[in-house]
């Protein structure tokens, strides 16, 4: 039950994009089409889950064991960057079509603040290993959900007569704001 709550909290109630406002750059950048949004979402979910697992070990057995928790930012960023590199090489080796469809999005994940945020949140909330993994997956699924919703709306708006001055990033930010407004309904459903 605890795990289900963590999952729902990370994916819906405290959605990384629409409630914590993390990972906005891919949210705005890769939400033009539903297909690419789904691919990006799954790539992020994959990286997030792995990050949650690995940073937990680093945190517990290196940072805390050596008494250097102040190194968390540096070490987590290095871990995420190398992890993304690793995932990229792995996908290129295993599935070329998937690699081609993700192309630029994979390296982009390195700079996705949602992933660093995930590692730091997990650290702050003192999750156990399993809890942290579930938290990572939930956050990834929530990220995917936000991305797909955004892509759906943007695809629909391609045909709309949006005033000229608002086209492009402006309208995306307005949509994002309204989406965040809709997600505020979840407030208080699950605490933390």
């Amino acid at each position: 039950m605890e795990l289900v709550l963590i999952f729902l909290s990370a994916s819906l109630v405290n959605n990384f994009v629409l409630s914590c406002f993390l990972g906005i750059c891919p949210f705005l950048g890769v939400s033009g089409k539903i297909e690419s949004a789904v691919s990006m979402g799954f790539a992020v979910t994959f990286v997030m889950t792995l990050t949650a697992g690995i940073t937990w070990f680093i945190n517990r057995y290196i940072l805390i064991a050596l008494g250097v928790p102040f190194l968390e930012y540096v070490s987590f960023i290095i871990v995420i960057a190398s992890l993304v590199q690793f995932v990229e090489m792995l996908i290129r080796k295993i599935s070329k079509p998937l690699y081609d469809s993700l192309c630029i999005y994979l390296p982009l994940i390195t700079t996705n603040c949602a992933i660093l945020g995930l590692a730091l949140f997990g650290f702050l909330r003192e999750y156990s290993f399993i809890e942290n993994m579930v938290f990572g997956t939930g956050a990834g699924i929530g990220f995917t959900l936000a991305l797909v919703i955004m892509a759906g709306i943007r695809e629909e708006l391609e045909l709309a007569d949006v005033p000229h001055v608002l086209r492009g990033p402006a309208i995306s930010l307005i949509i994002a704001g309204l989406l965040a407004l809709a997600f505020m309904g979840f407030a208080g459903l699950i605490s933390a």
């Binding site: 919703i149 629909e156 709309a160 007569d161 407004l181 809709a182 309904g185 208080g188 459903l189």
Partner: protein, 369 residues
């Protein structure tokens, strides 16, 4: 002389439908008027000022923006309807700038930034209401005592039934048979009208059948409860709804699936928070409190922001019912109808995309394979 009007070339299907946007919008407005008059009667002239403030700001905003875009849309009724719905969703004693800001937000940000009526993917009136709700939560949950009710505390403001229950259940450990009994135990007032009508119904109709009605439902049904101006009277809103159904302006799918899912969930799980077992929830109470009737029949069914297909509408209604239940029972706000509907609005493009009917002659899995 505009020659394009003389020689109109259109693509098929060339079927003419007598309904226009303006006709539909004004019909909905007419169906809403009785509930508004009743609300003004219950809450006094201040309520009328709130409605006027929201309508006027909606119309002015619409006029200015349409003028800037070299269009003229004020008379199509959609801005009037948005303003009216914003006004109906306001507490009667709210400061007048709040409905004005809600209407301006609704028309300018939620509707026109996306290109005006037809392109707004979120219900403007509800988005406006939710926007000001989170900005001025205090004023937006400050309810006035309606006519026919007397309270002993200060005589001007009181909690709404849903707010009273949410606050009362916060650290509630005992058991209570249900929301009506919980309100009664908390000293929540009933009108004299409620008592006499309930007595009449019981003695002349229900008692011979071996049933009885508890006091309180009549107040809820007639709207003699504190609440938003236009949402309180379930009776008058339902009368308007009948006309909308006759005119085929709204269809059955969204209201039915919304009420079915919401009622079912309330019936199964609604009793749990009163520390009763499963299947003891009070469905009737939950149907007639808060903005459910207004939301289900007048706002969830908005043509622009609801799905196009029957299957899509059923999904939309069911999702909104589930979210309303979730927010009302487990959320931190007493009422969740407006939040639930705008939450489902954001899924409409996806629902439309994945419930699209298959074209004739094409296999569902992308034929030709």
């Amino acid at each position: 002389m505009n020659r394009e009007v003389d020689l109109l070339v259109t693509t098929s299907p060339q079927i003419h439908h007598p309904d226009s946007t303006a006709k539909i919008m004004w019909t909905v407005v007419i169906c809403l008027v009785p509930a508004g008059i009743w609300g003004v009667f219950l809450f006094g002239g201040k309520a009328l000022l709130v409605i006027i403030s929201s309508i006027v700001s909606a119309l002015v905003t619409e006029f200015i923006i349409a003028k800037l875009l070299k269009r003229f849309t004020v008379l199509d009724g959609s801005a009037f309807l948005t303003g009216l719905l914003v006004g109906y969703n306001m507490p009667p004693g709210v400061p007048l700038y709040i409905p004005a800001i809600a209407s301006i937000f609704a028309i300018a940000v939620v509707k026109w930034t996306f290109g005006g009526l037809g392109a707004n993917w979120m219900n403007p009136a509800l988005a406006g209401r939710v926007f000001v709700f989170f900005s001025w939560t205090g004023s937006m949950t400050n309810w006035r005592v309606p006519r026919f009710l007397t309270t002993h505390v200060d005589g001007v403001t009181m909690a709404s039934p849903l707010g009273f229950i949410k606050a009362g259940l916060y650290d509630f450990t005992g058991t209570s048979p249900g929301p009506i009994a919980f309100l009664k135990a908390g000293g929540y007032p009933l009108s004299a009208l409620d008592q006499s009508v309930t007595n009449w119904i019981n003695t002349s109709v229900l008692n011979p059948l071996g049933a009885s009605l508890k006091g309180g439902y009549v107040d809820l049904f007639l709207g003699i409860v504190p609440g938003c101006i236009g949402e309180v009277s379930a009776l008058l809103l339902l009368l308007g709804t009948v006309y909308l159904f006759i005119k085929k302006i709204i269809t059955w799918e969204i209201p039915v699936s919304y009420l079915f899912v919401f009622g079912l969930l309330i019936w199964i799980f609604g009793g749990l928070r009163f520390n009763n077992g499963l299947f003891t929830g009070d469905v009737m109470f939950n149907f007639f409190t808060g903005g459910l009737i207004l939301g289900v029949f007048y706002m969830a069914t908005d043509m622009v922001t609801s799905p196009l297909t029957t299957k899509g509408k059923l999904i939309f209604g069911a999702g909104a019912g589930f979210m309303t239940f979730l927010i009302r029972v487990y959320g931190s706000f007493p009422e969740g109808v407006s939040l639930a509907i705008i939450f489902m609005n954001i899924f409409v493009p996806l629902i439309n995309k994945y419930t699209k009917p298959v074209r004739f002659g094409v296999s569902p899995r992308g034929g030709g394979k």
